[in-house]
Symmetry: C3
């Protein structure tokens, strides 16, 4: 895809400084060549900016003075990360899928695959399952029986959606994702632990994206739900009956135990965990590696394990490192 800088500027609402030119790719400042667009979002990259061979560079409007350092043209943008996302979407439009059921795909006779969907070789579509228009089902994907997949979804190679689970439109499951495995519910019986049958299902709403090898368990009763527009990274565990709101961001290796409730627009750092039945209010921010064991209020920022307000946690860390502050004159005396 080749596009003029002026066309990009118009779509982004950006200001073009310097001559117009055609660009066809995006690259880092160091790697960019003639027809490339690059970006400089951080002061640490100013020396790379001066030496770049990029035809043009995206620069935050709030750092307009950096434009003087750029050898080529400049696009001043208000929201740099958003501009980057939009520019990449312009230069690298998602490949059009070639519709059809490929030879080597294993589609049950009772499945309903839309004529505009694509099922790649080696993918399996179970009985009664529905696949919407424009959806790509890559090789090795297994859709169990009675699954519903909406339109314009992307199901990465070797992901699995189990019986009766439902995906909205534009859902992206990366490779190796497992939707609808049995939840981990155990009762103690006379002969040891006994798994509680998990007869619920999973609903993934529109525009949700889930990263590679993440797992979302089906509910014991009812539904495990991931709300519209939420983005989940790799190797994340979502337990049975979890309710995730809209526009939630969850980084890699987070674990949500059974029946956790995550409000809208919550942000969770990598390797954090939330104990079962705990509620996290809307817009709360959970630090990386935090262990949340009790309710978090809307908008609150917590860190540590057990998770506490970030400021309090930082004070704890500071005290741990400055033990002298706790010592009395007599204690210090002992050391001498």
């Amino acid at each position: 895809m080749t596009v003029s800088l002026s066309a990009i500027a118009q779509q982004l609402g950006a200001e073009l400084k310097g001559s117009d030119a055609q660009v066809s790719a995006m690259a880092t400042l160091a790697e960019a060549c003639g027809g490339d667009l690059s970006l400089c979002l951080d002061r640490r990259h100013l020396s790379a900016l001066r030496q770049t061979r990029a035809a043009a560079v995206l620069i935050p409007a709030a750092r307009a003075s950096w434009a003087e350092e750029a050898p080529g043209s400049v696009l001043l943008v208000k929201e740099p990360r958003l501009a980057m996302a939009q520019t990449l979407a312009i230069l690298y439009p998602p490949a059009l899928i070639k519709p059809g059921v490929c030879p080597g795909a294993l589609v049950d006779a009772s499945a309903e695959v839309h004529a505009q969907a694509r099922i790649e070789p080696g993918a399996c579509v179970g009985p009664g399952t529905i696949v919407g228009a424009g959806t790509l089902v890559e090789s090795g994907v297994v859709l169990g029986p009675e699954v519903v997949v909406g339109a314009a979804c992307r199901l990465g190679a070797n992901c699995v959606v189990r019986k009766g689970c439902r995906l909205g439109d534009r859902v992206h499951l990366a490779s190796g994702v497992v939707i609808g495995a049995r939840g981990f519910g155990v009762a103690v019986g006379p002969d040891g632990p006994l798994s509680i049958p998990q007869v619920g299902t999973v609903v993934i709403e529109d525009d949700v994206e889930i990263g590679a090898n993440s797992t979302v368990d089906r509910a014991t009763l009812g539904v495990t739900r991931i709300g519209r527009g939420s983005k989940i990274d790799n190797l994340v565990q979502v337990g049975h009956n979890v309710q995730i709101g809209k526009h939630v961001l969850i980084a890699a290796q987070v674990g949500l135990a059974g029946s956790v409730e995550i409000g809208d627009a919550v942000v969770m750092g990598g390797q954090a965990g939330v104990a079962d039945h705990v509620k996290v209010g809307a817009r709360a921010q959970i630090g990386g590696k935090a262990g949340v064991t009790s309710a978090v209020a809307a908008g609150e920022r917590v860190a540590g394990f057990p998770a506490i307000p970030v400021r309090q946690w930082l004070r704890q860390q500071w005290r741990l490192r400055k033990p002298a502050k706790h010592k009395t004159a007599s204690n210090q005396g002992e050391k001498k």
Copy 2:
């Protein structure tokens, strides 16, 4: 499946209060309709109990007074979670599998698949591998060469059992599980790290269940073993030569390093880890996110990192949050 309340009461050893009725499904108090059975295990759900449309509700015998709040019939049960498991098993009996090797399954000519087993489309069964009666091998499963799978197992879509590993009867592997990958053993050679060949195997005993995308490595020499009836959640790592006892419960994202020994009936919370060669005694309880770096005695409860007895850990946390307790009069004076 439609069953009468009196029949369920008889099987559970429960007391039926109110009129008998036919029920065919289980649902939450809020979602239950006419023919549904529900349950109320927690005081917080009493208002939902009053408004439920369920035909009947399971209530703990120890909370018999709640029965008065229920609009319909009540089953008083001694062990509520166990009763829930049993009731779900009655109302949702596991689907009978339709035996046979489906078209599209790739079964080596030298494999021995029992006539009462089912191999779904796209599953691969390697040379010399044995699959027992009543076992379901879902699509995308790969059984390496010389694998032994017992009777009545459920192998979820896209799980893998590698060369020579052995599963007992009624083993349940969720989707994406990998049994028998190479253990992580490294020696330092003259040209950098060198992987130690892993020539052992894995044995999974009867009634073990392993959650989605968990991994169990083969032993360097000998056997990595998971004991009878143990239940393991999603994304758990079991290293080479680990020995897990019977009836152990391991929550999601736990990691067991090489040669760890876990005694019978141990319970491990999510995201906990155990360092290599460490022994955890029978019935010990390891808190969520704990990092176990030295032996844990039988029956002990530990938490934190490095893991220490729970009481001691709770005291530490309390002290960290109440720093004033450590301050001397003179320190406090400074603050004024």
Copy 3:
């Protein structure tokens, strides 16, 4: 494979004490039988050494006196773990692969599979993809379009390598590994979070090994790289644009956020994490469960969260457990 002790001694540069004999397998001291070789690396195993039925035992040269306890022959070795790796490689040489595209493999007409490679039943090789000599592609593996796989690689069942990613020679991907999934980059748009297209790729250099169900994301721009000879355990997350040096060792469940840089020969313990854009210098050692939030100097050893030098962390832990040291006489008096 049957080999004489004297031949093994010669290849290892070991000293043979006792009579020569043929051995054909390696086993633990307790399990070894007549034709087996065993090893004793730890004082705790001396009683097992005395009772072993192994034909011969590897013993560290630095513990030569243990040889007197061995019932059979002894090989004194300088580097016991390296000797173990070498001995296993002699006794268990990797199986020769039988070249060819097996029936049931799904290879695109435009793919270039070397005549000496093997593609097993159910594996999928995408358009334009290249597979080198001596490489084994197991069942259920999915290679996307335009992938390059070098010579003598082993791609475990159900692993995935996505579009355009490149593997060197002798790369080992365990089952369930996902290379080249979309990185987790999100911009905040007017209608909620928006994924930033990830148009970069992944390069895995020669002799890298990656454990089961680990994930390596493609770069936003440019390349996510894993350096020559690095060994990565199971369930590890490598984020977009991460740069891992040569001979790095990463234990299970580690998470590396976007743009992290790991120097040569770094060692990371299990469940550790590194925050985005942080640099870890060559030969640094990161403790298990550590959370690295700022740069680590070359050769430094850190632990804890936030990670600090190991000695400092140990002192913190010691102080936390010995609170009396911080108490004043008056505080102690209160308790009486």
